[in-house]
Amino acid sequence: MNDQVRKITLPQHASILLLVLVGAGVAFKDYRAREQAAMEPEALGVADDDVLSQPTIPPVPLTVRVDDRKVRLGERLYHDPRLSHDDTISCATCHDLKRGGTDQVPTSTGIGGVLGPINSPTTYNSGFLFSQFWDGRARDLAEQAAGPVHNPKEMGSAWPEVIQKLSKDAPYVRAFAEIYPDGIRGDNIADAIAEYEKSLITPNSRFDRFLRGDARALSADEKDGYRLFKEFGCISCHQGVALGGNMYQTLGTMEDYFTQRDESEADHGRFNVTKREWNRHQFKVPSLRNIERSFPYLHDGSAKTLEDVLEVMWKSQLGRSIRPEESIKIVKFLKTLNGTYRGEPL
């Protein structure tokens, strides 16, 4: 009976062999095909940016993509003085949204009435800046947020302290828990504040409307001012959507700025960060948007008016003089850079 069991007819053998061959054939074909496919690089399309078609100064975008929950939380934190050691100073103290996003004093006063070393930049449109602080030591807004909190001359606190205070506040705890799985932490606080600050865009300035095609948004003098702004080369540094904030420049390229007085540490500018000689006295070019509101000007806040700062610019940066009427026109132009926040002009 075993023979009978083992007996497999020739046709049966043949059919199995056929199936095997076919299968093997298919397998090999597939193998080959894949080999070939692997060889060919995949043609992937990557969109080309037509850079040249971009304007030198793009208008502020009307909207910005932010996480609303974080923005709401960040807004609360931004205005919360508990971020300072003695619960007196919040971000808004030096970066007051009602005062052009700054405190409108030469240098800020920190905790215990300590006078800070440097003028506070505006938080409006700060999301467009390529780095934060005058010396660009913070890569982004989140990195920047920790600075004042820990600065003994500013808020004089530390995250643990802040977290402890915030943890007692149930709404905060709830809000944090909702957004951040790991609850109230320093980097989460900074993240929320940063998200909020990113939302502080000020579109629809008259200049932006002009850029978008509304020729009547600017007066003739303002238009002329814009022309002169370009002609004199202000635009070389104050370009981009923020009219600045995308490069470092030496303060005193043509004329040495700092000979008039003793240099402070803040005066070293980017040198403090990179320790490179060519970075000495280099500061981040500030944004000119809402410039009318964010006086006084320059890192030391020494230029009280636009006229003052323009004087510095002609002398130190451009190495030329301009006629007063030219200066007035430019100032007029600069005043068209005030945008709106939440529909309200600054």
Partner: protein, 745 residues
């Protein structure tokens, strides 16, 4: 069939291989690969864009630095993402380490590029401004220069030309002259510090210097930035990646192929197994059918065989039944036969009858078991007529022989009674019968005979005769005694009277006469007393009594002595050797009989006439605490050993025919043993004999230690103390004790 373990192992191995191959092929994560490839391409594009923009900025086509910022940022972010290598890069592999190295290199280059770009931006702005203002400044200066400073104006023109030329061509050679000119002009400017043209001149020189300085630097920076080998590095990264991914893809592909082939082989195996299974099923079905058919055939055969067997069985059953019955019948017959044989044997045993059969034809002689027993023979010796005759008592033999001979001759029956002597010497009485049987033709074929041991009957007969005699004697004696009593009483009372009368005539009687008369009366008394005693004893003696009670041995012995005195008187002295003995358990007349018998025997053992030389001693003593012994010793002729053996047997007598019946000692034996006692004898021929009788003390049960069997009379007890030395003299008394009347005077 392979063992289950092997199968399990194979299955497990197959599954593992499949799983392994599947996993290996899954390693091809297309998504990851695509993303990485995308990223690499994008980085290259971004890098290119950045370079483009730098040039555009340089050519004043692009003033907005935002794109530069964005591209740099994207490059850096992308490079960071490159660090996350796809799974195809295994840790420790060459590809992996190369990739890591290249990515770090890229990040380093990008940092450098960033720095360069920052510098570029700053310098570019300044240079651009200066370039655009320099001609203006020069023209402003020219306006304030008057014609007297024509030389100066020309210098300034030349400067303008040179600087712009330098800006255009970056010719190193013209740099020194320009610088020289600037130097010269600045000197001039300082000298003429108050001139109207000094400020303008200063500005011109400032911007000129700036241009020269910044141009050189910016060119270098630009070149450096553009020449950073980021693109080639990215390409290398890409090729590294490609290589690796290709390798991975290829490997995966190989695994996939292996998987396919494995699967195909597996399928083929399954197909074969399936075919085998089919075949097996078919074969099984076929086998099943064959089996069924065969089973059916077998069943048929078996049925037939079974029927046949059943038939045979039935037959056998019948046969066996018949056999059984036959066997049963035979058994019954055998049993019956055995039964009857047993009964016969029993009958013979009980009746002490043996039988013999003599076949005249064969001369065969067969005896029954009882016959052997009667003769005291082992059932071995071949029975024969001679044997029979040999055992006949010598005295009876002639008669018997004669009878038997005659019977044999005449082929007739016979009947005899004779004594036989057993092989153990015992004498028995037998009653023999024989008969001749004839066969069908009338000729004698068989002789059958019986021999019955009638000893007991004979004994009984003799005892009966004896008893009858004794009874008649007793009756006679009783009558005589009674007759005698009356006159005797008269005599005695008369004597009494006379004795009393003597006392009265004491005074007057002559002295000698009184004494003599008293003596005479006394003697008469004695004589009369004696007669009375004799009469009394006679009555006692003959009185049948079965009463067993305490009996005074001495009394009985004295009486027996008295009765035997006539026999003893002339033969021997009688000596009494009496110790104190308690009463014995016995029957007084019977015991008296025994004592009398012994005494008479003793007397008769001694020849007449020599009374003074012979002695008969009667002794009583204790044997232990419970037995009383009395002995009768004589100095007679003694008893020879061969007779001693059969002493207590009935019919043994040494007395001449007519004198004794030979019954005495056997009777004594019977009486003594029935009282639980023993009778024994010691004797020496020529010296004398001692007969000893021991009787239990009254109040004692029959002592079981001492066999008191009423066995065949041939049983002799050889007990008793051996005779000790010669007779010891004892008190000699002449006659039985008598009461003598003593006159109290």
């Amino acid at each position: 069939m392979r063992s289950p373990i092997r199968i399990l192992a194979i299955a497990a191995g197959t599954l593992c291989t499949l799983a392994f191959l599947l996993v290996k092929t899954k390693l091809d994560s297309g998504e990851e690969h695509r993303r990485h490839v995308n990223l690499l391409l994008e980085l290259q594009k971004v890098d290119s864009s950045l370079n483009e923009e730098l040039l555009e900025v340089r050519y004043a086509q692009l003033i907005n630095y935002d794109p530069l910022v964005k591209n740099l940022r994207d490059l850096k972010a992308g490079a960071e993402r490159l660090k996350a290598l796809p799974g195809s890069f295994e840790e420790g592999s060459e590809g992996h380490s190369r990739m890591v190295e290249q990515v770090s290199e890229l990040l380093r280059l990008l940092a450098q590029k960033e720095d360069l770009v920052e510098r570029f931006k700053s310098e570019n702005s300044t240079l651009r401004n200066s370039l655009s203002f320099f001609p203006v400044a020069a023209s402003e200066l020219a306006q304030v220069l008057d014609v007297s400073q024509r030389g100066l104006a020309l210098e300034v023109q030349a400067l303008l030309r040179d600087v712009l030329m330098y800006n255009l061509h970056s010719n190193e050679e013209i740099l020194p002259p320009i610088q020289a000119r600037i130097a010269m002009l600045s000197v001039r400017q300082r000298i003429h510090g108050q001139a109207a043209w000094t400020e303008e001149m200063r500005r011109v020189l400032n911007h000129g210097n700036t241009i020269l300085e910044y141009k050189t630097r910016l060119d270098r920076i630009t070149r450096e930035a553009l020449e950073l080998p980021t693109r080639s590095l990215l390409r290398r990264i890409q090729s590294t990646y490609w290589e690796q991914s290709l390798r991975m893809v290829s490997l995966t592909n190989d695994y996939r192929l292996a998987l396919y082939l494995f699967a195909i082989v597996l399928m083929a195996t399954i197909a074969y197994s399936f075919l085998r299974l089919q075949n097996t099923t078919l074969a099984l079905n076929e086998a099943n059918l064959t089996l069924e058919k065969r089973v059916q055939e077998r069943t048929e055969d078996l049925k037939q065989a079974t029927n046949e067997l059943t038939r045979q069985k039935d037959q056998l059953v019948l046969n066996s039944k018949e056999l059984e019955q036959a066997l049963r019948r035979e058994t019954e017959a055998t049993v019956a036969l055995k039964e009857s044989e047993m009964q016969l044997a029993l009958a013979q045993e009980v009746s002490h009858t043996g039988n013999w059969v003599f076949k005249t034809a064969t001369g065969g002689f067969s005896w029954s078991a009882e016959l052997y027993r009667i003769y005291g023979l082992d059932p071995q010796p071949t029975p024969s007529k001679e044997l029979l005759l040999r055992h006949v008592h010598p005295e009876d033999r002639p008669v018997v022989q004669q009878t038997v001979e005659r019977a044999l001759d005449e082929r007739s029956a016979f009947e005899t009674e004779h004594r036989i002597v057993r092989s153990d010497g015992q004498h028995r009485f037998v009653h023999a019968r024989a008969q001749v049987l004839v066969d069908d033709s009338g000729r004698p074929s068989t002789m059958v005979g019986t021999v019955q041991d009638v000893t007991e009957r004979k004994e009984m007969q003799t005892k009966l005769v004896h008893a009858e005699r004794m009874a008649s004697l007793g009756t006679l004696a009783g009558g005589v005694a009674h007759e005698i009593n009356n006159p005797l009483s008269c005599v005695l009372s008369n004597l009494e009277f006379m004795s009393r009368g003597l006392c009265e005539v004491e005074d007057v009687a002559p002295p000698g006469w009184l004494a003599e008369t008293r003596q005479v009366i006394g003697d008469s008394f004695k004589g009369a007393e004696r007669v009375r005693r004799i009469v009394q004893d006679l009555r006692t003696f003959t009185r049948p009594s079965n009463k067993v009670g305490p009996v005074d041995m001495h009394q009985i012995l004295d009486l027996a002595i008295t009765m035997a005195s006539s026999q003893i008187q002339h033969r021997a002295k009688l000596v009494r050797d009496y110790f104190d003995v308690p009463p014995v358990r016995g029957d007084a007349p019977r015991l008296g009989q025994v004592a009398l018998n012994l005494l008479v025997n003793a007397a008769q053992a001694i020849p007449d006439g020599k009374a003074t030389e012979n002695e008969i001693r009667v002794v009583t003593r204790m044997d232990g605490a419970h037995r009383v012994v009395f002995e009768v010793r004589d100095t007679g002729c003694g008893i020879p050993p061969e007779i001693r053996r059969h002493l207590f047997e009935p019919f043994l007598t040494t007395k001449p025919v007519g004198k004794g019946t030979g019954l005495g000692l056997s009777v004594c034996h019977g009486i003594v043993t029935s009282l639980g006692g023993e009778i024994t004898v010691e004797s020496e021929v020529g010296k004398g004999s001692t007969f000893r009788v021991s009787i239990p003390v009254a109040g004692q049960a029959i002592d079981p230690a001492r066999p008191t069997t009423t066995a065949a009379p041939g049983h002799l007890s050889q007990g008793g103390r051996p005779q000790e030395g010669p007779w010891r003299p004892a008190e000699v008394s002449s006659s039985a004790p008598s009461t003598s009347r003593v006159c109290s005077g």
